[in-house]
Structures are given as C-alpha cells and as structure tokens.
C-alpha cells in the first residue's frame, strides 16, 4: 500500500515537472507576432506623422507597438547596414518621413509610387532641435500590401 502511494507521488512529481517544463518551453519559444495576417490600424503617412510627432500620450497609445497599415507616397528607397530595404514615405515636412524597414526586399517599388505598408509602429524619434534635423516615425518588420 505504502509502495503504491510512493510510486503515485513520484509519478505525480514527474508529471508536474514535465508540465511546467513544457509550458516554459512553449513560452520561451513562442513566435514573433504574425504581421502579415494581423488586423492593422489603417492611416495615411501624413496623419500618422502629425499624430506621433506631437508628444501626446493618447495618440501614442493608439499607434505605438501596434500593427499599422500606412498608405503613402514613396519618397526614397534605401538599404540599411544589414542590406534590408528601407522605404521612406512622404510627410508634410520635406526632411521627415515614415521610415519603414522591410522584411522582404522588392524591386517593383519605386519613388513616386503610392503604396500601403503594414508593420509594427515603433514611434517617433528625433535628435536635439538645435541640429535642425526633423525626426521620423519608424515602422519595423514591414510588408507591402499593395
């Protein structure tokens, strides 16, 4: 009787440890957000830039760390230090952009095209105002949707 109880306790302990380890493994290895299939907040590049370049907590909470689909006119296409394509969408300020780092490079997009880009909105950042360089709104892990 005591032997049976001991076996049950050992089995229960092993099962409990295995369950915890399994849950831990699943959490540790959970995938990044699926941008392509996610529902996005739709907005145009000028409005997004206007909303985030003014330091308002309310507008930040609407867009920052959210998946957004931004429609805008391509100003320039660049490559970053890792070779990923960076598409700059025009805003109402000449030196400022919605700066989108792409997951996939495309040869079809060119300056002047109006496109929609879906990605995670990181937020707005600039340097000190006395340097005269306006900041950008940044999107990361982006895909074009049309």
């Amino acid at each position: 009787m005591r032997k049976k109880l001991l076996i049950n306790i050992i089995l229960f302990t092993i099962m409990a440890f295995s369950t915890v380890a399994f849950i831990g493994f699943i959490i540790w290895n959970k995938p990044h957000r699926n941008i392509k299939d996610a529902t996005a907040v739709e907005i145009n590049a000028v409005d997004l830039y206007r909303a985030l370049s003014h330091d308002s907590t309310k507008t930040k909470s609407l867009f920052v760390n959210k998946i957004v689909a931004v429609i805008g006119k391509v100003k320039q296409i660049q490559k970053n230090r890792e070779g990923a394509q960076v598409i700059l969408l025009q805003t109402h300020i000449p030196d400022a952009s919605v700066n989108c780092t792409m997951e996939e490079n495309s040869t079809k997009i060119k300056a002047g095209d109006t496109i929609e880009i879906k990605g995670i909105c990181i937020g707005y950042i600039s340097t000190d105002e006395d340097l005269g360089l306006p900041g950008d709104v940044f999107l990361t892990r982006c895909y074009t949707t049309f």
Binding site: I27, W28, N29, K30, P31, H32, R33, V64, N65, Q78, N80, R81, E82, A84, V86, S97, N99, T101, I122, G123, I125, S126, T127, D128, L131, G132, L133, G135, D136, F138, T140, R141
Partner: protein, 182 residues
C-alpha cells in the same frame, strides 16, 4: 534697415556653413551582446538617428528601445517590460564629441581611429563615458564604428533574482553608422 538686412544675410551664411558640416543617418545600427550560461542574448536596432558635425566633432545618437529586435519574442518582451521598461523610458541617447576629430582627413579614404567622450543615457540614467572607435572614409562616404562595454547596474536596470545568474552584468554595445550630408 540696411544693417538688419546685412545681419540677416550673415546669419543665413553662418547657418549654411554650419549645415555644410553636418552629416546624418536615420537608419544607423546599434547592437548589443550579453554572454550568459543559459543562452547568449543579442539584439539589433537598425533605426538609429545619428548626427555628426565633422568640424566640431559633435556626435549624437538617439534610438527607441522598443526597436531592438531579438531572435526570440519572449526575450524582446522581457527586455521591454522588465529590464529597460520601454513604456517609462522609451528612448536611449548619446551626446558627445570625437576628441581627436582633427586627425581625420575627410577628403581622403582611410580608417581613422578616434576617441569619443560624452553622456550616455539609458533607462533614464545619464553617465559620462569614453569609448574608442573609428571613422572610415570610403568613396566620399563617412562611416562610424565603435564597440564598448556598459554595466547594467550603472543604469539601474534590475535583473530578477531568478534569472540573475543567467544574465551577464556586462553588455557589449556595437555601433555601425553610415552618414549622408545634410
């Protein structure tokens, strides 16, 4: 009236000269690496704004902490929520000077060792640091590189006791930026 006009033209001239010395990037790269017994931790941020004044040697970097991309989603989540606290401290920055900028010949291709000194702000804490780096001039393109170490405790970043033996106190930061003229 003439005097005011002259002053205005002089101001515009000075402004243009100052702008002529400014180089910038909005897609610079900063990465960090931490060796740990369980798993090495590394992350990249390729959305770094940096401005370099090649005359005065003034240099600035600004980045959003939530733009660091980790191989694992859970690492990214822990970094933003528990360690760097991105909601409270969204931005990290550096503002300093290249001490030996006069040793760099911006008209001639080459790899010029430089030393940078200034204020590094992470997690709302500002510390004065000095780091070695290099300015590389290649085909009229200016690039800046640096690698230095920071300690998490210097920036009041608290590591939970349960994982403290798995995460190194020492973080290696690497900077790699390529500039264009403003």
């Amino acid at each position: 009236m003439k005097r005011n006009l002259f002053s205005f033209i002089l101001f515009l001239f000075v402004l243009q000269q100052a702008n002529g010395q400014l180089y910038y990037t909005k897609n610079g790269s900063i990465s960090f690496f931490s060796k740990s017994p369980l798993q090495d931790i590394e992350a990249d941020n390729n959305q770094v704004i940096s401005v370099l004044n090649i005359q005065s040697g003034q240099i600035e970097f600004s980045l959003l902490n939530n733009a660091f991309h980790f191989p694992k989603a859970k690492m990214e989540e822990d970094f933003n929520e528990n360690y760097i606290e991105s909601d409270t401290y969204p931005r990290s920055s550096f503002k300093g000077t290249l001490i030996n900028i006069n040793k760099v010949d911006f008209t001639k291709d080459g790899n010029y060792p430089v030393m940078v000194k200034g204020d590094l702000t992470i997690h709302g804490i500002t510390k004065n640091i000095t780091a070695n780096g290099a300015i590389i001039i290649s085909k009229a393109t200016i690039s800046a590189y640096s690698s230095f170490t920071v300690f998490v405790k210097d920036y009041d970043i608290k590591i939970p006791t349960i994982v403290s033996n798995k995460i190194s106190e020492k973080i290696q930061i690497k900077i790699n930026c390529s500039y264009q003229k403003k």
